[in-house]
């Protein structure tokens, strides 16, 4: 039982802690798990989250930064005032919990559809697009000399990588070909400025409360690159969850996003943002194809994965809306 290991661990590094209760797995594939639990403490319980790769699952997928880097980035973000959980402990071998880290639990909602529909978020919603602009500006300004080692990716490399992924699926899709052509024709080249890029900043990876964004999660795709990538990805239609006229996560307009970003002292390049939005739409479409392939070849022969394969057509219509819009 994981509570025994967690209890021994917290007693080593959390002064006064006597154990843990209520451990429950929130999500997990074969290689990465998220658990919630409470640290038992004389001053009252402390809500915590464990992110880990269980023992024997050390290697991260090629695109992932790794849990150690993720912990370091979250801590840096926290110290810089970017909404982020505080990292409490990075796992060491004597914890006997695998690799990963423990962070303070931030209360709030991550389920995009609830954030877009529930009354409790009604006052926050109109403010979120602008707020997200400010948060991204803070994130892109994190001190580069303190960052962990990260892969570096520009537009040209990303196009080549997605094209390779797509071709490996042997899944001829004229709309995806058209998008690849468009991306090559509109490749903005190397960004004048290279910053930290979160890589998966979107509605669904943010903890949101009645007061707005409380934490930015899921840093595993963080890398160095064009900061406009994050502004494009947050606008991809797949993350608007039906609110298609509000590009920024279904919350608000690009103008509000850009205003929040520029009010924090940074500059937006709208053409680059558009490039990354097209790239992001194709990226999600190709990922749907990858899910289909994993469903076919196993080991995850689940209905859910099969159905995600059938969501590629959503990205095709969104690509057409971006590249070949009808009427006005």
């Amino acid at each position: 039982m994981i509570e025994a290991e967690l209890s021994r661990s917290v007693q080593r590094w959390c002064k006064g802690a006597t154990g843990v209760t209520g451990a429950a797995k929130l999500s997990g594939g074969a290689s990465q798990e998220t658990w919630r639990f409470d640290i038992v403490h004389p001053d009252g319980p402390i809500g915590a989250i464990l992110r880990r790769s269980p023992k024997g699952y050390g290697a991260a997928p090629t695109r992932a930064a790794g849990l150690a880097a993720e912990a370091q980035l979250m801590q840096l973000a926290f110290e810089a005032g970017v909404p982020s959980p505080r990292v409490m402990h990075v796992l060491v071998p004597e914890d006997d919990l695998g690799t990963g880290f423990i962070m303070q639990r931030v209360e709030g909602e991550t389920i995009a559809r609830k954030i877009l529909r529930d009354d409790v978020f009604a006052a926050a919603r109109p403010l979120l697009a602008r707020q997200i602009g400010g948060i991204l500006a803070g994130l892109h300004r994190l001190p580069q000399d303190k960052l962990p080692e990260l892969r570096s990716r520009g537009a040209t490399q990303e196009i080549a990588e997605f094209e390779r992924d797509y071709r490996s699926l042997n899944w001829p899709k004229p709309v995806f070909e058209l998008a690849l052509r468009w991306l090559r024709d509109h490749d903005p080249g190397p960004s004048a400025e290279i910053t930290l890029v979160h890589g998966d900043f979107r509605n669904g990876n943010l903890i949101i409360g009645a007061d707005g964004v409380r934490a930015v999660l899921d840093w595993e795709l963080a890398h160095l690159g064009d900061p406009m990538e994050d502004l494009g990805w947050v606008c991809v239609n797949s993350w608007r969850f039906g609110e298609i006229d509000k590009p920024v996560g279904g919350f608000g307009s690009r103008e509000e996003l850009f205003a929040g970003y520029e009010a924090a002292g940074r500059t937006v390049d709208p053409a680059r943002v558009k490039f990354w939005e097209v790239m992001g739409t194709l990226r999600w479409g190709i990922m749907c194809g990858g899910m289909m392939q994993r469903f076919r070849e196993g080991p995850d022969h689940s209905m859910e994965r099969a159905m995600i394969g059938r969501r590629a057509s959503e990205t095709e219509i969104d690509l057409l809306r971006l590249l070949a819009p009808r009427g006005s």
């Binding site: 159905m307 959503e314 219509i317 070949a324």
Partner: protein, 125 residues
């Protein structure tokens, strides 16, 4: 020719059974999975209903665009290759219309409630 009921009628009867008789009995994660299962059967029903007609029209458009004959998958592969080589693009007469028509037919099967699809459908109406 196979006997009846048709595959559409059979699939629909299973989906209706799961939806009406089993859904009320199940909760939690299994209920979520049951919903996915029903969605799959509904998708299959939509595809069986519309596929023949939409594929025939798609082949007709592809033959006109490419000037060659073949099955719907062969012609799609050929179109994909020509776009990749730059021989066909959005300036090619008929390409945009073909891609829109094909994509709309796919969404009608895959995700008829997708907001972008509903918006474009209202444009057609």
């Amino acid at each position: 020719m196979q006997d009846e009921p048709t595959p559409v009628e059979l699939t629909k009867s299973v989906a209706d059974f799961l939806r009406n008789d089993i859904t009320p009995l199940i909760s939690g994660h299994q209920a979520f999975k049951l919903r996915v299962a029903i969605n799959i059967l509904d998708l299959v029903t939509r595809q069986l209903t519309g596929e023949e007609g939409s594929d025939a029209k798609e082949v007709e458009r592809l033959r006109a665009l490419l000037g060659i004959d073949g099955s719907v998958s062969e012609l799609n592969r050929a179109l994909a290759e020509r776009i990749a080589k730059g021989e066909v693009d959005l300036a090619t007469p008929g390409l945009a219309e073909h891609l829109w028509a094909t994509t709309m037919d796919k969404l009608a099967v895959d995700q008829p409630n997708y907001a972008s699809y509903k918006r474009e459908l209202s444009r057609d109406a």
